[in-house]
Symmetry: C2
Subunit: 401 residues, 2 copies
């Protein structure tokens, strides 16, 4: 490893200059990797050495697969059209096997450490490190009686947290999407930099963010054998409900008490928010509406309202939906300080329609809420960074806080 | 991603039971992955689906490559002989392309997000999470005038740090190896759990650990073009020295002042240690002997004493070696509270011989030091976990602290 290290150090010295054709290495590359590289228009060029491979494809999750082309030197290359700004997950498919690109840092998505490429957004610095006071990002481990395991979570404390030891802070619980994990909001989302910048501009109140691991299996609780059961079958739905309930119990019975015992939080519902993206948005709606004694701010980013809402095939019944919490709009508006939903204009049609339907249903039912559409972005992190930028300043601003 | 998430959740329900043949999923797997799996003897079984591939190899960095065997269902499999306990980096080589295993979590090593498998060590819990008070692991970002960039570092604060806001702590600067990065000592090394357990047992003093990114390029300083220059050429050596010097300046002029300004450290040489593994050990020797005004505890884990020492072809001249710091052994022993070197018995012969030679040279020169050999382990993380377990309790124990 020592010699390898030296080689890595040396490789790095060749790196990172802009090439004559205007391409330069992506910020998401590992140290020393020349490719993938991008130009000012957002085109991305990929390269992998695979002299013995028969086919190599580039698999952007939000775009069609592209065939890479073999060059005479054994490298396969592909150049994309201009990509939308933001972080795009991708993989390589080498002779039919989907793998990560060794040149990219890993970002946990799709249930694995996938590759991703960051396309800068011209003029946008809100999610980048700036010369402002920075909060800390901490890893914590807590022993959960619900799951019977040690669980890992990530916590952001605002810049003033360490210097003002008598100050207490409100908390936003912020969940990743399906196939992602508790590292996503920092590594992919830059949630810490977004909050640093909002707090420095006095646009957001100083707050903590807690990012939990969104999967849970109840201790000693055998899950049903789903072999051969079709997607959406009653057995599968039951298994999903059990996992969701285990997560809900872990969050409310293990993680929140741990955070309130170990950090200087303001431990009441007026100072506790929850939001999440995609699957995390659906978890947010489940957890918060089951526990309005614990939460008073609710956000669904490209995911909200539960499975039936997402299907987009029905409006809800105001009297019974969400545990009946919406039956009296005036009482709801008093109790829940913020109900926020958002979606990207370019998300898959069914997803987009589902959120629009929820927005329309809430409007029809005269339920006070915020609806935000991210222009030109899909079911990807740039949407959720913008969501957080709009959502966070609305938190903990209610008079009397 | 939402549907993907649901699928991931469901896959997880099939997972993690012990199979009838005594194999069970490795702890380093991603959620839901059945393979790789290990048995009680330390054998590991790998599996990857690659129906169209011609060859698939399993590449353990510390062992010969193994051919995987294609099964009728399109999966390729391989089972290793019993492996030494510890964390082993590996990759898959699919039709000649070295890639990570999608079933394994990523661990940054070899200049990329590689795969790794954890083989438990029977009866050893010192590096595992136990039901003791846990310290926090924090990510920090600092703007370095040396490199002209934002740099990321990882900081461990001991369990009492948050609850005793007037307490100040000594600091161990702890470096990763070549090809690894600042995340290695937590993700691969479990340094936080090792210290949690040592501190709970009152074997170690409560201390902070700061883990820096070990590569640096000086701001505005163009590096020489090394194209075509052979390994070890004067130009290459010069480039390496420049990078080492940039790291040394970044650590001493940017990171240490940042840490002392932003954490409750005891900011003097008696309460500051540095250690590192492999390349990080060599960096430690360079930095500490250049800055004995800053450090009084020094550790080299499978890497110490600089390039010439590692070659093992010469003993040093006590009068001139290490900036002359060893010329007077009594004065050195008074000034440097601990000089610690270690190596695994099964490391590559040249590496092992180099450290033995340094140990012999120090002994001949009557330089007080600790020498530790990790039995049966190679140039891998189990060696360095054991090193830290032996090293940390010796820190900050000098009378008067």
């Amino acid at each position: 490893m020592m010699r390898l290290g030296i080689a890595v150090l040396l490789l790095s010295s060749f790196c990172c200059a802009q090439s004559p054709d205007g391409f330069q290495p992506a910020s998401t590359n590992v140290w020393g990797a020349e490719y993938p590289r991008i130009d000012a228009s957002g085109r991305a060029e990929f390269r992998v050495k695979a002299p013995d491979a028969t086919t190599v494809k580039l698999n952007f999750w939000s775009n069609p697969k592209m065939d890479m082309v073999k060059q005479s030197d054994g490298f396969w290359t592909a150049t994309t059209p201009p990509l939308v700004p933001g972080l795009h997950y991708y993989t390589l498919v080498i002779d039919g096997v989907e793998v990560s690109d060794p040149s990219s840092h890993a970002f946990f998505g799709g249930g694995k450490d996938a590759s991703a490429i960051e396309i800068p957004e011209a003029g946008s610095t809100y999610y980048l490190p700036q010369d402002v006071p920075h909060g800390a990002v901490r890893e914590i481990w807590y022993l959960s009686k619900v799951t019977g395991t040690w669980r890992h979570a990530v916590v952001y404390t605002p810049p003033s947290y360490d210097n003002q030891p008598r100050e207490r802070y409100p908390v936003l619980y912020l969940q990743h999407g399906g196939g992602e994990d508790e590292t996503g909001w920092i590594k992919q989302g830059n949630a810490n930099f977004i909050l640093d910048n909002l707090i420095a501009a006095k646009t957001s109140k100083p707050m903590m963010i807690v990012m939990a691991y969104g999967y849970a299996k109840r201790a000693g609780h055998p899950l049903p054998d789903l072999t051969g059961k079709p997607f959406g079958s009653p057995d599968m739905m039951k298994a999903m409900q059990e996992m969701s309930a285990a997560f809900e119990d872990d969050l409310t019975q293990a993680l929140i008490p741990y955070v309130d015992a170990n950090f200087r939080t303001i431990a009441d519902r007026d100072h506790r928010a929850m939001a999440g993206l995609s699957m995390g948005g659906m978890q947010t709606f489940q957890v918060t509406f089951d526990h309005l004694d614990l939460f008073s701010y609710i956000g669904g980013f490209s995911g909200a309202g539960g499975m039936s809402m997402m299907r987009g095939d029905q409006k809800f019944d105001r009297k019974t939906a969400f545990n009946g919490a919406l039956a009296d709009p005036a009482a709801f508006a008093k109790r829940v300080h913020l109900l926020w939903i958002g979606v990207g204009t370019d998300e898959p049609a069914m997803m987009h329609a589902g959120i629009i339907k929820l927005h329309d249903s809430l409007t029809d039912a005269q339920i006070k809420h915020i609806f935000y559409e991210s222009p030109g972005t899909s079911h990807e992190w740039q949407t959720w960074r913008r969501d957080l930028k709009d959502f966070a300043p609305r938190l903990f601003q209610t008079a009397g806080h």
